[in-house]
């Protein structure tokens, strides 16, 4: 059949030598690729967190029994959240650190809620490779900067949960939370 041998048919070609047949071929391949991508997306997206997993994403807890200088761990989305009632000196020390000394510069007051500066609430997940830093329990090692210490590969965090030394690239994350009343917090 004549139309099976494009080299011999005088197909009209554009300025750059592209024939109508090439155009059809390329658009067909492009549409096929987009279609295949759309068909694969549900399979890929099925691996993202499911609706019931997402539904577990808030936790409420009370700070009423927490004493100054103490810290507790609560569980949010299956991961620990550290809550520390900081002393006056600790807050002062955290505020006094010059930004130039920080790997991930952030002032202390953007990491706490205004008027609630004593409560430091952090995701207890090392920003390096996800271990749980020590420092919440009274007997724990707290690292060179008095906050938390991650034993996995040696990351040191300070009294505002900021990274000061070690391989972790960022400060401990502050989870989204709100004070429902004076001593009740909802995380998530």
């Amino acid at each position: 059949m004549a139309n099976m041998a494009p080299a011999h048919s005088p197909a009209p070609s554009g300025a750059d030598g592209e024939t109508r047949r090439d155009f059809l071929l390329h658009t067909t391949v492009a549409f096929g690729a987009v279609g295949a991508g759309m068909a694969v997306w549900p399979l890929i997206h099925s691996m993202n967190p499911a609706a019931d997993t997402l539904a577990l994403s808030t936790t409420e807890f009370s700070l009423a029994t927490l004493q100054e200088g103490q810290a507790i761990t609560i569980v949010w989305r299956g991961k620990p959240v550290f809550v520390r009632f900081r002393t006056k000196e600790e807050i002062e020390a955290a505020r006094a650190v010059p930004m130039s000394e920080l790997t991930d510069p952030q002032a202390d007051d953007v990491r706490v809620k205004k008027g609630k500066e004593q409560y430091l609430i952090l995701e207890g997940v090392c920003t390096h490779l996800g271990c749980i830093p020590l420092g919440t329990k009274p007997m724990d090692q707290r690292g060179d900067f008095g906050g938390w210490f991650c034993p996995c590969h040696g990351s040191h965090y300070d009294m505002a949960g900021r990274i000061r030394k070690g391989p972790a690239p960022a400060n401990l994350k502050v989870p989204p939370y709100t004070f429902l009343d004076d001593t009740t917090v909802r995380v998530g």
């Binding site: 997993t53 994403s57 761990t73 989305r77 991961k79 997940v125 271990c131 972790a168 690239p169």
Partner: protein, 406 residues
């Protein structure tokens, strides 16, 4: 010889004419595959790797019949396999130690290739297939180790999956996608089981490609020179029998460990059930990942550490072009031979560093060895290939033997 064919012979030929299965195998690893006559015992390890792959699949499928991939039941189901299932202890110990022996065999197989220059032209694609198999093995073993849901399973999985968060911008969404949640959790365990079941069969497919690529140029040999047809002998029976003897030796060592030291290669903490709220003070991966773990920790930057770790394996893909020498076998390359053994020792020291806490002396040594690892590939290998004068190559495999006999 009777001219009359038996009915069985006729039936066999009828079938072969329609589906030449036996001829296919005979061509691949039988009497129709001519192999160089001077292969030494290092050429046993390819066969051994294939054997262990089959062993892993057989024991794995039986384990899967009693294993429960749920975070509340996985640990107990493995304990039940160990205590209550008939021969469950044997099957699990064969599977767990089989993974270690798989890596021992593969490491010897890879170093064999590096020593005798098997990666050089025309075997580059064969070499690539091997590296892809190795990567698939690492992924399979990593996900398998998560299944018993012990403390090392959980925290190993956490640390390894978090490595992907080092990727700029899309890192975090990728990690959430890998987990199917906000951390290593039940969805993670479920999918790892599905993939752990799948990947070994993908490896079988890759092994077929590996053997296919092997058959285009044929096997390399300890002298690294082309083997003339007169210097080849049929794979079967000569090498099948040699391989089976090697298998006997392998099985003696393997079962000595399975029966008398079944937990010597594992970590005791994996007999403690996973606890997402308590990180063990010292996380170590399985021994076969230790050199790469040492490279990860040698570099104080998260992204660069992860890049170096993956790079240390991916660099093998370009080894055929980094090596500028056309002489394959280290037998004729005195300088390369020296550096080869240095590289080998460097790998062992890296492994030791990976098993220690990343501080003090092990960290310093780990950094030196990480430097040497890359220095070897990027500088030593090209420069030695270029500067070294190799010893004269024999004209043929046969002549090298006859000369020695004179």
């Amino acid at each position: 010889m009777s001219t009359e064919k038996s009915v069985w012979q006729k039936a066999f030929e009828w079938h072969e004419a329609r589906l030449p299965l036996v001829s296919f195998v005979d061509n691949a690893v039988g009497s129709k595959y001519p192999a160089p006559k001077n292969l030494n015992y290092f050429w046993n390890f390819g066969f051994l790797a294939g054997f262990v792959l089959v062993l892993m699949i057989m024991t794995g499928i039986v384990l899967a019949m009693n294993y429960v991939p749920h975070k509340d039941m996985a640990f107990d189901s493995v304990e039940r396999i160990m205590r209550d299932v008939n021969y469950g202890w044997l099957i699990r110990y064969m599977h767990a130690n089989g993974a270690s022996f798989f890596f021992i065999v593969i490491y010897i197989h890879i170093f064999r290739g590096m020593y005798y220059g098997s990666y050089k032209a025309p075997r580059e694609v064969l070499w690539w297939m091997g590296i892809i198999i190795y990567l698939a093995m690492m992924a399979t073993a990593f996900m398998g180790y998560v299944l018993p849901w012990g403390q090392m399973s959980f925290w190993g999985a956490t640390v390894i999956t978090n490595m992907f968060s080092a990727i700029p911008l899309i890192g975090e969404p990728i990690v959430t996608w890998l987990w199917g949640g906000f951390g290593v959790d039940n969805p993670t365990l479920n999918r790892f089981f599905a993939l752990h079941y799948l990947l070994p069969f993908v490896i079988i497919g890759l092994v077929v490609l590996h053997i296919w690529a092997l058959h285009i140029p044929g096997s390399n040999n300890p002298l690294g020179i082309e083997a003339a047809p007169a210097d080849k002998i049929p794979f079967h029976p000569y090498y099948t029998i040699k391989d089976v003897f090697g298998l006997g030796v392998f099985l003696i060592v393997f079962f000595a460990i399975v029966f008398w030291l079944p937990n010597s290669l594992g970590h005791p903490l994996n007999y403690v059930e996973a606890n997402p709220l308590v990180t063990p003070p010292h996380i170590v991966p399985e021994w076969y990942y230790l050199p790469f773990y040492a490279i990860l920790r040698a570099i104080p930057d998260k992204l660069l550490g992860v890049v170096a770790m993956f790079g240390s394996i991916l660099i093998l893909f370009v080894l055929p072009w980094l090596d500028t020498s056309r002489v394959r076998s280290a037998t004729f390359r005195p300088v390369f031979k020296l550096f080869f053994w240095l590289f080998f020792a460097n790998g062992l020291v890296l492994g030791w560093c990976g098993s220690q806490l990343a501080e003090g002396l092990p960290l310093i040594i780990g950094r030196i060895c990480t430097f040497w690892y890359f220095f070897h590939f990027f500088v030593i290998v090209p420069v030695v290939g270029w500067m070294e004068t190799p010893r004269p190559l024999p004209a043929s495999i046969g002549s090298s033997v006859l000369k020695a006999a004179e």
